[in-house]
Symmetry: C2
Subunit: 326 residues, 2 copies
């Protein structure tokens, strides 16, 4: 009997990462297409994605009947039950787009849709640092701070889809920096790539530490990457900032440990590429702050899948909600 | 055909609340027996509970074959998978007790065991303020701060059983008060009945507010109840403390809203009997701090079941993990 396959799409603002997987989430083929943002209804883009799937799977000798389901990750708020995306700025979708309905109309197959942070967590759970454990959490450090929580093997969406919106936990009670969400003091304002810069400009005038970052700071062109690079070379101001940032992330990890209590707390996103220096600082601060019994056996790890996490997790939606449900 | 029944026990340090329920969690009979703490292995107590169940159900014309399962709540850490209680100070169980194994040996029926905070949350979900929603959280304010989280209809235990151990989130970053857990600054140190007293003795010397609580404070006999009573009568110092406590609880609620994102955040435990003044202060502070989209449709409510929550939730274990699983 011929094997069944899964279609997976991670829709981003510039490219869509597409993949064809078998039912054990082994990747048969992966490729990318440009994201067409010309159509505000999303239909055009979803047709292009569907056509790309059909073309590629036909070449591989599969037919639509062989497809168990289509998993899709999108950069915007999603109603998981209905597969409706409630707008997506980066895709130029100002209004709601019924992604699941459109896509299942095109393919005739079941469609599951979730936001990019949740599918990335699911991807890491199935094929990355999560090692298939049923309780994991992912902290995504990019321009903002995103997250995904898996409890009892299921993504935690919550009642209005704000499950794992962990970037908006207030950790800076002085509320020094305004957040994109309209409030102030969110962890996103002090522990994202943007947050690193916020802290640099806040602490620099107060500290008389010599730093190789000085020209960049004065030039207003310092990046989070610069700060981590400097820290790795032993720059004291860089180390000071990395420690501050790590403390905030460790605090978030300590909260996750006594709410959903994940086995693996996976740190991903662009900033996680700082690697060892970030992860080790987080671990040290975590041990100091977390409820001792919650720490037992809990591991803080760097994400493994990089940019593929979303696509793998999109396929993971079909594995979790269709295959394993049977 | 004769109806099936559920045995439910909420084992406390002084009494065990027992109940016989039908499969829709309607209570057929409830009663209590004293908790026998003379036997450190727990066998004696579990036998007494089993005998009480048999006696009562026989009187009601039921036999053991009619029992779907036995649900048990205990005041200690539980390994949910195995039903082993890893010690319970209040029951005089210094070592692990395999409660599920002992109880199913006695009854021949399936047994589910969970800790008291989790079963209370499940009880409120099924028959109290939770209105059967599949995403709820409970904050239990007693001598300490406990909690229970239900996500996607299942209790969140996490990988090592520290799921919803929300009393140990650090909220007092000055770490003024030491927590029973060995760390400092946990929300338990500032928002439990003990926490209220901590705050009273901390702020009293700093504030020149007149207060009817003064004699009790000087006498070192002030209770959390006294503080809430005074606040209700307009006592300014009482109001000040209630506001501080409410802010901490609101912060915890804001964290729950962007982690598990419950529809209902249910405030229970002895301190919740303060009622309106506490709930309204929490709501006000919550709106100021929480991520705006997470707040939509989220309700903060006082618990409804009082002391019965644990017993109802113990029966709820059978409904959630046996009946609804079918």
């Amino acid at each position: 009997m011929k094997k069944k396959i899964i279609f997976a799409a991670d829709i981003g603002g510039t490219t869509c990462k597409l993949g064809i997987f078998d039912q054990n989430l082994r990747c048969i083929q992966k490729w990318a297409i440009n994201t067409d943002t010309s159509d505000q209804t999303g239909v055009q883009l979803l047709k292009q994605i569907h056509n790309a799937f059909v073309e590629k799977s036909t070449m591989l000798n599969y037919q639509l009947e062989d497809v168990i389901g289509v998993g899709i990750g999108v950069p915007g708020p999603v109603d998981f039950e209905t597969g409706v995306v409630r707008g997506a700025v980066n895709l130029n979708w100002p209004e709601s787009v019924p992604v699941a309905k459109i896509m299942s109309g095109l393919s005739g197959r079941p469609v599951f849709v979730d936001n990019d942070a949740n599918v990335a967590a699911l991807g890491e759970m199935h094929k990355g640092s999560g090692q298939n454990h049923s309780d994991i959490a992912m902290i995504t450090l990019g321009t903002g701070v995103g997250g995904g929580i898996v409890s009892n093997g299921k993504i935690v969406h919550g009642h209005n889809g704000s499950g794992a919106e962990i970037g908006h936990i207030r950790v800076d009670h002085d509320q020094r920096f305004k957040c994109n969400c309209g409030k102030s003091g969110c962890i996103e304002t002090v522990a994202s790539a943007t947050g690193v810069i916020n802290l640099v400009h806040y602490y620099h005038p107060q500290l008389s530490i010599q730093s190789q970052l000085l020209p960049l700071i004065n030039d207003n062109s310092v990046s989070a990457k610069d700060v981590f690079e400097a820290a790795k070379k032993g720059d004291l101001f860089g180390l000071f900032i990395v420690e501050k940032v790590s403390q905030y992330i460790a605090y978030l990890a300590s909260i996750l440990s006594v709410t959903s209590n994940p086995k693996y707390i996976i740190v991903g996103g662009g900033m996680s590429e700082a690697g060892h220096i970030l992860i080790e600082n987080i671990k040290t601060a975590y041990q100091q702050i977390v409820f001792t019994p919650a720490q037992e056996g809990t591991e803080i790890l760097q994400a493994q899948l990089g940019n593929d996490a979303g696509m793998v997790g999109a396929a993971g939606l079909i594995k979790t909600y269709m295959i394993e449900k049977e």
